[in-house]
C-alpha cells in the first residue's frame, strides 16, 4: 500500500517553477532516494509535503489523507517528520532537551519524554553527549541530533534532507547504517542525498528531479543505466 502519494505537485516562486507537475508514490516501509542537481527542487518538494508551505498545484496524500494546507505541527502529529538540510539545533538547550522536545509531541510527561529521548540518543550513539549544549556540537553530531529528534516524534515516515552532507566517510557510513536500522523498524523514509554510492546502497526506489521536473523514477539499477539521468545529472561529475 502506498503510504505517500504525490499527485501533480507544482510550486512556483514568482515565475520560477521549483517543482513542476511532480508525481510518484511511495510504498510503506520502503526507502525512496530523491536525487538531482543543486537547485533541482528537492528541498522545495520536502517543504510542500510537510506543510512548510502549501504546493501551488497538486495534492499530497499521506495514509489516504489529503495533507494540503495542513501546518507543519499537524503534519508531524499525523506521523510525518522531516530533518532540515541546514541543521536547526535548539542551540541553547542540551542535546537531551532537544530530543525531548520531539518526544513531547506525543506525551505530556517529562519522565516518559526523557526516557524516550535517551533511547533515541542511544540509537544515534550520542547518549554520552546528552548534557552538552546542542549549539556547541560539531556538524556530524548536529546531523545525528536532527535524526534523533525526529525519531523521538515517533513518526511513521521520515524525510531526511542531506543528513550526510558535510560528513566524513566514517560518519556517512554510520548514518547509512542508521537509515537501514530505521528501515528495519518499519519506518518509511524519503532521503535526499548527493552521495551517489550511498543513495544506490540504501534506496529501494529513486526519483530524479531536474529543474523542478521529475526526470526519472525506478530502482537503483534502472536509474544508473538511464541515459537521460546520466546526461542530465551523473554525467556532470
Amino acid at each position: 500500500m502506498a503510504i505517500l502519494e504525490i499527485k501533480h505537485v507544482s510550486k512556483f516562486f514568482g515565475g520560477l517553477a521549483a517543482n513542476a507537475d511532480v508525481s510518484f508514490e511511495l510504498e510503506q516501509g520502503m526507502i525512496m532516494g530523491l536525487i538531482g542537481p543543486n537547485g533541482a527542487g528537492k528541498t522545495t518538494l520536502f517543504n510542500c509535503i510537510t506543510g512548510y508551505y502549501p504546493p501551488s498545484k497538486g495534492e499530497v496524500i499521506f495514509n489516504g489523507r489529503r495533507m494540503n494546507g495542513l501546518q507543519p505541527d499537524k503534519v508531524c502529529k499525523l506521523g510525518m517528520a522531516r530533518t532540515w538540510q541546514k541543521v536547526r539545533p535548539l542551540a541553547k538547550l542540551s542535546v537531551l532537551d532537544n530530543v525531548m522536545v520531539g518526544a513531547l509531541c506525543r506525551t505530556n510527561s517529562l519522565k516518559t519524554a526523557s526516557d524516550l529521548a535517551m533511547e533515541q540518543l542511544k540509537v544515534v550513539r550520542m547518549e554520552d553527549k546528552a548534557r552538552f549544549l546542542a549549539g556547541g556540537l560539531p556538524i556530524g553530531e548536529r546531523k545525528k541530533l536532527e535524526v534523533a529528534r525526529v525519531l523521538a516524534t515517533q513518526p511513521q515516515m521520515l524525510l531526511l534532507d542531506e543528513v550526510m552532507g558535510g560528513l566524513n566517510p566514517a560518519e556517512s557510513d554510520e548514518i547509512i547504517q542508521l537509515i537501514l536500522d530505521i528501515k528495519g523498524r518499519g519506518i518509511t523514509q524519503m532521503v535526499i542525498e548527493h552521495d551517489m554510492k550511498a543513495i544506490m546502497r540504501i534506496s529501494d526506489r529513486i526519483v530524479v528531479l531536474n529543474s523542478g521536473e521529475k526526470l526519472a523514477e525506478g530502482n537503483p539499477q534502472e536509474i544508473v543505466s538511464n541515459p537521460e539521468v546520466i546526461a542530465a545529472y551523473l554525467g556532470q561529475d
Partner: protein, 360 residues
C-alpha cells in the same frame, strides 16, 4: 572546551540547594518589617518586589519564548486601571478588582496576540509597541470611561478584614511590603513551574528556532498565545499592585512606552530566560535608579571631601546630577549590556563555569 559546554548545561539545571536557599531568603524577608520601619527603605523593597513581578512576567514571553514584547505597559496599565476603576467608580475592593484586571488582561492579550503573532522578529517588536500605544491613546481619549488625562486618584482603601477582624487598614507601607513579598515569589514559582513542564520545553524550542519547533509538532500560535496570556496576566497583577500602592493612575505613569522599556531592561540586565535573572535585574536597577533620583552620587562626592558642596563646582554637581539621572541611568545600562551581554546572572554563571572548568 567541551567540558566547558557540558558544565554550563549542568549548571542551568535546577537543584535542591536553590529551593532551600530561596525559602530561607523568603523567610528572612518575612521578618524584615519587625526590624525595619523606615518607610523609605520599605518603599525601596516594595519597588524591588514590584520590579521582580514585572520582570518575571515579561521573562516568560520574552526570555523563554523569545517574543520580545516592548508593549507590556498595555497589560500593566490594564491591571492598574481595572483595579482603580472598580475601586473608585464601583466601590469594589482591590482584592476583588484584581480579578477584573486579570480577566481584562486576558482579553487584551488575546487581541494583541492575534495581531502581533502574525509577525516575527523586529516586526513583532514594532507591532507590540504600536498596539500598546493604541491602548494608551484609547485610555487617554475615553474620559467618560477612564477619566482621561486626569487619571484616577484613590480616595482611600477599604480595610482588609477576615471574618470581621481588621487585618490591616493600609495606613503604613508594611501591608504593601507583604503583598509584594507574596506576589514576587508567586511569579518566580510560576516561572519555575513553566520551566519544568512541557510548556517550558515548547516555549524554549520556539525561542531557539520557530521553524524547527513547528516541524516537531509544536503549534506556534497556540503556545505563543499561552506564553503571552501567562505573561500578560502576571503583568496585570503587577499593575494592580502598583495602582493600590501609589493610589493614582494616569496614562503616562501606567501605560507609557518607558514602562514597557523598563520591564524589558529588568530582564536584560539580570539575565534573559533565567528564573532569577529578573530578581538580579531588580536588585541592580531599583537601587540604582533611586540613588540617581535622590542625588546620592553628588552627596557621595561631597562626602569624599574632594569637592565642597558650597564651591561653584559643588553647586553645579548638586544642580545637574539630579536632573541627569535618566542620562546616567541610560549610560550605566548600556555599559552593562556591552560588557555582560547575557546579563549579570549570565556573567556570574560564566565566571563559575570558568572556575569549575579550570579545576576539572
Amino acid at each position: 572546551m567541551s567540558t566547558l559546554k557540558k558544565l554550563s548545561a549542568d549548571i542551568s539545571g535546577s537543584s535542591a540547594v536553590t529551593v532551600v536557599a530561596g525559602l530561607a531568603v523568603c523567610a528572612g524577608l518575612c521578618i524584615v518589617p519587625f526590624f525595619v520601619q523606615n518607610p523609605y527603605l520599605l518603599h525601596i523593597m516594595i519597588l524591588i518586589f514590584l520590579s521582580t513581578i514585572m520582570g518575571e512576567s515579561w521573562n516568560i514571553l520574552g526570555g523563554y519564548t523569545g517574543q520580545y514584547s516592548v508593549g507590556h505597559a498595555a497589560y500593566f496599565g490594564t491591571g492598574a486601571y481595572a483595579t482603580m476603576m472598580m475601586l473608585q467608580f464601583r466601590q469594589v475592593a482591590p482584592w476583588y478588582g484584581v480579578w477584573v484586571g486579570l480577566a481584562a488582561a486576558l482579553v487584551v492579550a488575546l487581541v494583541i496576540g492575534s495581531i502581533c503573532f502574525r509577525l516575527r522578529g523586529p516586526y513583532f517588536v514594532l507591532a507590540s509597541i504600536a498596539v500598546a500605544e493604541i491602548l494608551r491613546l484609547c485610555t487617554l481619549n475615553l474620559p467618560s470611561l477612564t477619566n482621561g488625562a486626569e487619571g484616577i486618584l484613590a480616595t482611600g482603601l477599604p480595610p482588609f478584614t477576615i471574618g470581621g477582624t481588621v487585618i490591616t487598614d493600609f495606613s503604613t507601607k508594611i501591608p504593601f511590603y507583604y503583598i509584594g513579598l507574596a506576589l514576587a515569589p508567586l511569579t518566580i514559582l510560576v516561572t519555575w513551574l513553566v520551566q519544568h513542564s512541557k510548556l517550558g520545553y515548547f516555549f524554549q524550542a520556539i525561542r531557539e528556532d520557530q521553524d524547527a519547533a513547528h516541524s516537531l509538532g509544536i503549534s506556534l500560535t497556540l503556545y505563543k498565545n499561552i506564553a503571552l496570556v501567562i505573561s500578560a496576566m502576571l503583568t496585570s497583577l503587577a499593575g494592580s499592585f502598583y495602582a493600590i500602592y501609589v493610589g493614582f493612575v494616569d496614562p503616562p505613569t501606567v501605560m507609557a512606552l518607558d514602562i514597557s522599556v523598563q520591564i524589558v531592561l529588568i530582564c536584560i540586565i539580570g539575565g534573559i530566560g533565567t528564573i532569577f535573572g529578573p530578581v538580579i535585574g531588580s536588585l541592580v536597577l531599583v537601587p540604582l535608579s533611586e540613588a540617581l533620583r535622590s542625588n546620592l552620587i553628588a552627596s557621595l562626592i561631597f562626602k569624599t571631601g574632594l569637592v565642597s558642596p558650597d564651591s561653584k563646582f559643588g553647586g553645579f554637581l548638586n544642580d545637574n546630577l539630579a536632573h541627569a539621572h535618566a542620562l546616567i541611568y541610560g549610560i550605566l545600562v548600556v555599559i552593562v549590556i556591552l560588557f555582560m551581554p547575557e546579563g549579570v546572572l549570565g556573567f556570574l554563571k560564566k565566571l563559575a563555569v570558568k572556575r569549575k572548568g579550570g579545576e576539572a
